[in-house]
Amino acid sequence: MTDPKGFPLNAWYAAAWGHEIGRALTPRRICDKDVVLYRRTDGAVAALEDACWHRLLPLSLGHLKGDQVMCGYHGLVFDASGRCTFMPAQETINPSACVRAFPAVERYRLVWLWMGDPALADPDLVPDFHWNSDAPWVGEGGTFYSLKCNYRLVIDNLMDLTHETYVHAGSIGDDAITRSPFEVTHTDRCVTVERWMENIEPPPFWARNLGRPGHVDRWQIIRFEAPNVVAGDVGVALAGTGARQGDRSEGVNGFFLAAITPETATSCHYFWNFVRNWRPDDEELTKSLTLAHVNDGKGVYDQDHDVLEAQQRAIDRQPRQPFYNLNIDAGALWAHRLIDGMMAKEGRDPKAAPPVGIAAE
């Protein structure tokens, strides 16, 4: 198969952490559109296309005036819905003048934007990411902005964890992963990859955090919600204490969380977190878990980062070279199937490059 690159537009995509958006103009490229984000005086987040209607200067180079943005070139002003409210040197306003406003909601500590038909922007369609914000889950999280790979490569990475054995040896990687069977199931919106490794020696990361000697039952239940979110239920419990049957009381449980947003056809923003249910008040532990993931090149996500960018470079150098698939890719391929289905519903070809613009201009 060739490598599909496209992304649906009728979906909510994470664009920023809520705490990053304040009374300043924050530019960001989302789904191949330049967007400027800011917080209105009522606390809600506004998102406008980051290009003045007049001469395309990024509005993010202008200033915020109350809830409106003034272009830094000729002073045109646009309100939070994108309507022009001021034009220089004339007594009227051209009725056609506007910039695109993107529906925005803040949920689960993230700001989500709807990049397609605004009439379809139902906040109930924000993918489930509650582990990122709700008790008992604790974690800090971060973002790889402008990660230099197509967003689907990140999904592929997370939907098959056999890579842990090779990319993350010494922390969470373990031969048991490659030896254990897994089951892939799906609905019309989600794909689940479930793997149990029973009665194994815990890998170093989990041994340390369980803090109890002996063999464990280890689980990885990865849930993808189309088109862009992965939540991986992972953990270990003392072997034979019934974790697989539903009793995880003799174990520790975490979720790796990923909201992946296309930036361009060959780059993405990767919002990540690792949340846990043990020692919730231990801030040192929170910090060390963050460092275990991203630490100046030494964390597990730094390792993924290197692999993903190298993979994209290789694809760019040989764009016609197909990918061949293994049995382990079933989860990723179901994820692609759901994404492609969303694109087909929008009348778009998943294998085509992302659109430059949609009909709304």
Binding site: T85, E91, T92, A360
Partner: protein, 323 residues
């Protein structure tokens, strides 16, 4: 700016909605994504021997792969509507777009749609979209006679009593001030219709004290306060006298006579094609939305792409200082 996305299309079907309004169903060679309400289609037309383009609002999103437009045959038209009325089903067309200069803001607490005559076309698409979204809206649709309410029956079947119709011959008149007052705070109004209705709508909106950007309107640039007639333009600096015929705009006539002009929108919005009025023995029929009412009253300039003169001629100056 000129469209660059021309593609072939075919007139699949056409039928008369009224004696002078025709519904056309256009099938593009390559179906596109559904068009947001307010979008228009560019159509290449022939005016006599000369190719030109016209824009027509889409009646719906075209989600079934067909673009539906309604075209009124205008006696004052420059020839586009006559061309569109003469097309036989199966005719090959060249189309561009759809594009949207009249976008509908989603998520408002209420909407007031006001249509006059053939101005119903973009509001038809908006009403269907708002109805589908479950939004609160009213569509006020006025025409000269009941027979001229070309799209009322189909609309009523789909949006019920959210459609209210008014006809001149039955003494019906839209009370714009009351309609604006009735709109939820934060609501928006969308207008499309003849010049007088648009002016009345703008006035009612301004008097209500609502924010200016909450009133949206689309201009045709074809109608004014006065009937269209030929008039003479004198340019003393260039020693020229140019006749603007009924079926040409002043901008077109000036350019055809070799006068260098700049322009962009050709809809009376951008203000680039304006010229200075030195003297007018006729009445200037300002048909643009670029100048404010005070500026129009002062009569110092006019937008040549849409405005005209009746009952006499006009003396102007252009930017040309080469001579």
């Amino acid at each position: 700016m000129a469209a660059t996305d021309w593609q072939p299309a075919r007139l699949r079907a056409a039928r008369a909605l009224t004696p002078d309004i025709r519904l056309l169903e256009i099938e593009p060679a390559t179906p596109g994504a559904p068009a947001p309400p307010g979008s228009h289609l560019g159509v290449a037309v022939m005016i006599g021997e000369r190719p030109d383009t016209r824009s027509y609002s889409l009646l719906d999103s075209g989600a079934d792969g067909l673009y539906r437009i309604a075209v009124k045959r205008l006696p004052d038209s420059r020839g586009g509507s006559a061309y569109m009325h003469g097309l036989e089903p199966g005719a090959r067309l060249s189309i561009s777009g759809p594009r949207n200069h009249f976008g509908l803001t989603p998520g408002r607490p209420g909407y007031l749609l006001v249509a006059g005559g053939i101005g119903i076309t973009p509001l038809h698409a908006m009403a269907l979209a708002l109805h589908q979204a479950g939004a609160r809206f009213r569509l006020l649709y006025a025409a000269r006679t009941r027979r001229d309410l070309a799209l009322a029956d189909g609309l009523r079947a789909r949006i019920g009593d959210r459609l209210e119709t008014f006809t001149d011959d039955e003494g019906g008149r839209i009370d714009l001030a009351a309609a604006v007052a009735d709109l939820a705070p934060g609501g928006e109004a969308y207008l499309c219709g003849p010049y007088g209705m648009m002016e009345a709508g703008r006035r009612a909106w301004a008097e209500s004290g609502r924010p200016a950007q909450g009133l949206r309107f689309e201009t045709f640039g074809t109608g004014g306060r006065h009937a269209t007639e030929a008039f003479t333009v004198r340019i003393p600096r260039l020693s020229r006298e140019i006749v603007v015929p009924r079926h040409q705009t002043m901008l077109e006539a000036l350019e055809a006579a070799g006068i260098a002009m700049i322009h962009d929108c050709r809809r009376g919005e951008c203000g680039l094609c304006t010229v200075k009025i030195l003297d007018a023995d006729g009445t200037v029929d300002h048909r643009d939305v670029f100048f404010s009412e005070a500026q129009k009253a002062a009569n110092a300039q006019l937008c040549t792409c849409v405005s005209r003169v009746v009952g006499g001629g006009i003396t102007i100056d252009t930017a040309d200082r080469a001579g």
